[in-house]
């Protein structure tokens, strides 16, 4: 197994998780509190990466971030190089691709917090930030674990988007899932199967962690 691909994958998944928790938290708070048609539009948009072929997403990102588009042009001016075929470009793609995996559990978690409790905290003098920090976050903390684990695991496993906008550059954009593809094309099945097994193990343990935490949380709620 390529160590550089492993490190790159973990770095990408870690940063994607971090970015997504920062982006998804306010978005999910808004979706959970909103009840208009805007909420449905937002939810449908957030869920799009679930149903679109990753290549479609990757294609739009590639074109959108390329120097030919308006946004791409601005990016090139700002960064000095296009975002496509770079680690940052990969990060942007991963964030969009895994968005529903972070937003959805958080929306469910926030909706599970008793609105009466939140209202009471506000009346008792807690500012919006304090209400989030002292009431909403601790009551919905399991949803943050779920969102983080799912985002991380999903990013580790992504292929289509990474291939489209990353372009398989060793050490820069070649993640584990892409290195498997390369190894298979080189007919190097032993190495491919080692990497594949490592990915299966990583995903399995991530999910095991998630379900173990969920069971613990349920027990402590009953006790």
């Amino acid at each position: 197994m390529e160590t550089s691909a492993l490190v790159l994958t973990l770095r990408l998944a870690g940063l994607t998780t971090l970015c997504l928790l920062l982006i998804a938290t306010p978005l999910a708070l808004w979706i959970a509190s909103e009840n208009s048609i805007l909420r449905k539009i937002a939810q449908a948009t957030v869920a799009l990466p679930l149903v679109l072929p990753p290549t479609v997403l990757g294609y739009y990102l590639l074109v959108g971030m390329g120097p030919a588009s308006g946004l791409g042009h601005i990016l090139v001016k700002a960064l000095g190089h296009p975002l496509a075929f770079t680690f940052q470009g990969l990060l942007v793609g991963s964030v969009i691709y895994s968005l529903p995996f972070a937003v959805q559990p958080l929306v469910v978690g926030f909706e599970g917090v008793d609105p009466g409790v939140v209202e009471t905290a506000r009346v008792l003098g807690a500012s919006p930030w304090r209400v989030f920090q002292r009431v909403i976050f601790p009551l919905a903390r399991m949803s943050f674990v779920t969102a983080a684990v799912l985002t991380f695991a999903h990013t580790v496993g992504e292929f289509g988007v990474v291939l489209m906008i990353g372009g398989d550059i060793p050490g820069v954009t070649r993640t584990l899932s892409i290195s498997i593809f390369d190894l298979v094309q080189e007919m190097n099945y032993p190495a491919a199967s080692r990497t594949a097994l490592a990915l299966v193990a990583m995903s399995f343990f991530a999910l095991l962690l998630l379900y173990a935490r969920a069971a613990n949380a349920r027990r402590s709620q009953l006790g």
Binding site: G116, V117, E119, T120, L124, G125, A126, V131, V135, L139
Partner: protein
């Protein structure tokens, strides 16, 4: 009659009830009395700023003028509130709940003592009874620093009568000592009579009577006497 300290006007529909309430609070303790579904809780929530869909205006007397709180954010209204159903923070212990808004440990200790919660202060609120949660909610409201109005919504749900009678008088004493006026909601005649408060009767979203407990609740008192066998 003491000076008016708060003025509240609420109009608009809440579920099946059409609210049309104009209330001037002047007594140290005012009781909103009425049957379930008459809109009492909505009046309290409107004062807190929790019902932005209603047409509300809310003023407080400060010094020698009036301060308009209508547009003041919920968390800056200096209201201590014990909502219906307690709404305790289930992830915190009894004393952490009481200390949620408190400025000092002394305030927390005083509130815990007032509501006889000292012995269970370190327990999680998940494991305590409904009446105990209610007391935690009341203690939490009494520990709010610099509150200018105390709103209590059905404060004694699940609290046994002896405890209620005991708490009621101590709460009244404490609120008067700190100079914080109280507006409480109840459908319990005894509660209103015990407090000897200024009673505002509400029915179907409107105020239908106002005065001392004995006056406004004369009909209920007579019914109670009949039930107890004092009158034929």
């Amino acid at each position: 009659m003491a000076d008016v300290h708060h003025q509240l006007r609420v109009a608009g529909s809440r579920g099946a009830v059409r609210l049309e309430v104009a209330l001037e609070l002047s007594a140290p303790w005012t009781v909103l009395f009425g049957p379930s579904g008459s809109g009492k809780s909505s009046v309290l929530r409107a004062a807190c700023g929790l019902l932005p869909e209603l047409d509300v205006s809310f003023q407080r007397s400060e010094g020698d003028g009036w301060v308009d709180l209508t547009k003041t954010p919920v968390h800056r209204r200096k209201i201590a509130y014990a909502p219906q159903g307690a709404a305790v923070f289930t992830h915190l212990s009894v004393q952490e709940n009481v200390g949620f808004a408190a400025a000092s440990n002394t305030a927390v200790d005083a509130a815990l003592a007032l509501f006889v919660l000292g012995a269970m202060r370190t327990r999680s609120v998940r494991g305590i009874s409904g009446g105990e949660k209610q007391r935690v909610s009341l203690a939490r409201a009494f520990a709010v620093p610099n509150a200018r109005l105390l709103l209590l919504d059905e404060p004694f749900t699940g609290v046994d009568r002896r405890m209620r009678d005991d708490l009621l008088l101590r709460m009244q004493e404490r609120a008067e000592a700190e100079g914080v006026p109280v507006l409480s909601v109840t459908h319990d005649v005894e509660e209103a009579l015990l407090l000897d408060a200024d009673v505002v009767r509400m029915e179907a979203g409107r105020i239908t009577g106002r005065g001392t407990a004995r006056l406004v609740l004369a009909e209920e008192c007579a019914r109670m006497r009949r039930v107890l066998g004092f009158e034929a």
